[in-house]
Amino acid sequence: MSDHRLALFRAMVRARVLEDRLASLYLSGGIPGGSVFLSRGQEAFSAAAAMQLRPGDVYAPLIRDQAGRLVRGETPLDAIRVHLGRTTGVTRGRDGNIHRGFPRQGDLAMISHLGSTIGTVAGWLMGLRQLGKAGAPGDLAVGLASIGDGGMNTGALHEGLNIAAVEKLPFVLCVTDNQLSYSTFSDRTYACRSLVERAAGYGLRGVAIDGTDPDACWAACRDAVARARAGEGPQMIVAKLLRLAGHGMHDDASYVPAELKSRFADGVQTYEVVLRKDGVLDEAAAQALWDEYRSETAAALAQAQAEPSPDPAQEPWTALSTRALA
């Protein structure tokens, strides 16, 4: 029991440390792109979900899944390289920050258009079935996709999720209802009480959880992924929490009332307190853990900064992989 709790906390801290560093880099002008997007307050759900996956599973993270990405094998160095637009980064400077992925390993590179990855994960799982690679019956390869309260209202989400349900795929939809799409509160984006009320309409099993409680996140994710793996069909988890940052670093989120903010503690801090109380971690171990990730991030940043930016003269400037047609 405490094993996974420590691992979960480690994943949360690792993401937090990395993002804090990217945030300060943004403020000092060290990021060539438009913004840096933080997952503050959402680390637990993101990490807990990704921790249920294994090689061969499909993962479709979104904008606030730094924690899940790290769990899946991305390193801070990978993330920093992409943010700096380095040739060594997986996008080779062509794409920045959030649109990165490792599609060969089943980790999708999202496009900005929200909702678009849902049907893609469904298609991937259908493809595995076609190829006889869906996994042993009762022990299926799972597809897990993130979506926000905002993205839930896209047509793409609707079509993709419905297909996942019709095909009875081992699909897990992790809905992070952080109450905001950019500056817009969810009373302007949906009219049901909880987004979990959408599950039945697709024929999914849905659960609603407190996304600020890492243990609740863990339990729900473990259960949903296990059910999907076992062949019970698609699952939906709706985690309610609050985005504890601006939409991106360019946004001060002054539209979020202080009173609301005051009701949502920082899950990384509260979980540390809980774990220390429960004896999973003592002060020294906690300190060592933070230090470990700070050094890791510092080293990664130093390395990435020393690496080259793309050279336009080396770009082939074609969008086709077929040589004969490019």
């Binding site: 794409d95 049907g119 893609t120 259908m126 493809g127 076609q130 793409a156 079509e159 969008a319 047609l325």
Partner: protein, 324 residues
């Protein structure tokens, strides 16, 4: 063995399914005994159980499935019921499928079948030629076979291609075009190559899909008037085989592009602009375009016929070009 255009499509799908376990078909009403709105998949669901799947009315979702399955290692063929409905899948096609290789280095070998083009009585939402907008973004290959042999080979090539391909099949040709041989034995040109369907010295007339046959029809009365047109079938719209067209214009000095599409932009404009720039000194007359009228496609057959270019109008435009 003889084959219509639609039979060649069915044959290509069947052969691809038989030869390559990565291939599967996904689309509205394509499975069961029904076999699709135009019967392109008739019999395939029975022959290949579990590999011909009906989808909900969800074109964005269908395209997304194609992308995901392609990433998983498959060669999915996505059928849209009419090309007109692919407008709903536009984002997935141009922003997701078409950008993926460039962004990640991982290609998306999905094929999108689009029953396109006008038939009298079809009206504004069942007659569109859609290459105008499908060619707008980089990263998508767009093909439009005009012959039974190409219907077969280009579909096989589309499925074999690592990049996403939009395959525009012309609904009017489905049952109107027939050859007396096995389409898989018909001549096979590579993707990206245009075909000279008729040689001629006086004017290069370029078209694709259904309009190729109107151009060929125009050739005969023109020949009687002593005007020999060279008819080029582009076959592949993105990328364009500008070299073949340029070589022809070098000889004829004249260019007419005939299209069933709307007048603004698109492939006809691209080709005329390209030839004007790169073949300027070879042109003895203004490069011309003949397009459909600048309105949605009308329902009533009389209006429909007036909306679309045909052999008579092509011939008239050629005469004007040659007499310039």
């Amino acid at each position: 063995m003889s084959s219509t255009y639609i039979e060649a499509i069915r044959r290509a799908l069947g052969d691809a399914l038989a030869e390559d376990p990565r291939v599967f078909l996904y689309g509205q009403d394509i499975a069961g005994t029904f076999g699709g709105a135009f019967k392109a998949t008739k019999g395939l669901a029975e022959r290949f159980p579990g590999r011909v799947l009906n989808s909900p009315i969800s074109e964005d979702g269908q395209a997304a499935v194609g992308i995901g399955a392609a990433l998983a290692g498959c060669r999915p063929v996505i059928e849209f019921q009419f090309a007109d409905f692919a407008s709903v899948a536009f984002n997935q096609m141009v922003n997701h499928a078409a950008t993926h290789w460039w962004r990640t280095g991982v290609p998306v070998p999905a094929t999108f079948r689009l029953p396109a083009g006008g038939t009298p009585g079809g009206g504004p939402f069942h007659c569109q030629m859609v290459e105008g907008w499908l060619t707008s973004h980089p990263g998508l290959i767009v093909v439009a076979p005009a012959t039974v042999g190409d219907a077969y080979h280009m579909l096989r090539d589309a499925i074999a291609c690592d990049d996403p391909v939009a395959y525009l099949e012309h609904k009017h040709l489905y049952n109107h075009l027939r050859i007396d041989t096995d389409p898989s034995r018909a001549e096979r040109l590579p993707l990206g190559k245009a075909a000279v369907r008729r040689a001629g010295r006086d004017c290069t007339v370029v078209s694709w899909s259904g309009m190729v046959h109107e151009c060929l029809k125009a050739a005969e009365p023109l020949a009687e008037q002593g005007i020999e047109i060279e008819v080029i079938d582009l076959r592949c719209l993105r990328p364009l085989d500008t070299a073949t067209v340029l070589a022809s214009v070098e000889r004829t000095g004249r260019l007419l592009v005939a299209t069933e599409s709307w007048p603004f932009g698109g492939v006809a404009a691209e080709l005329c602009a390209w030839i004007s720039e790169h073949g300027f000194s070879h042109l003895d007359a203004p490069p011309r375009r003949l397009s459909a009228q600048d309105t949605p496609v009308p329902f009533h057959p009389d209006l429909f016929r007036a909306h679309h270019p045909d052999a008579a109008r092509i011939a008239a435009a050629v005469v004007e070009t040659v007499e310039f």
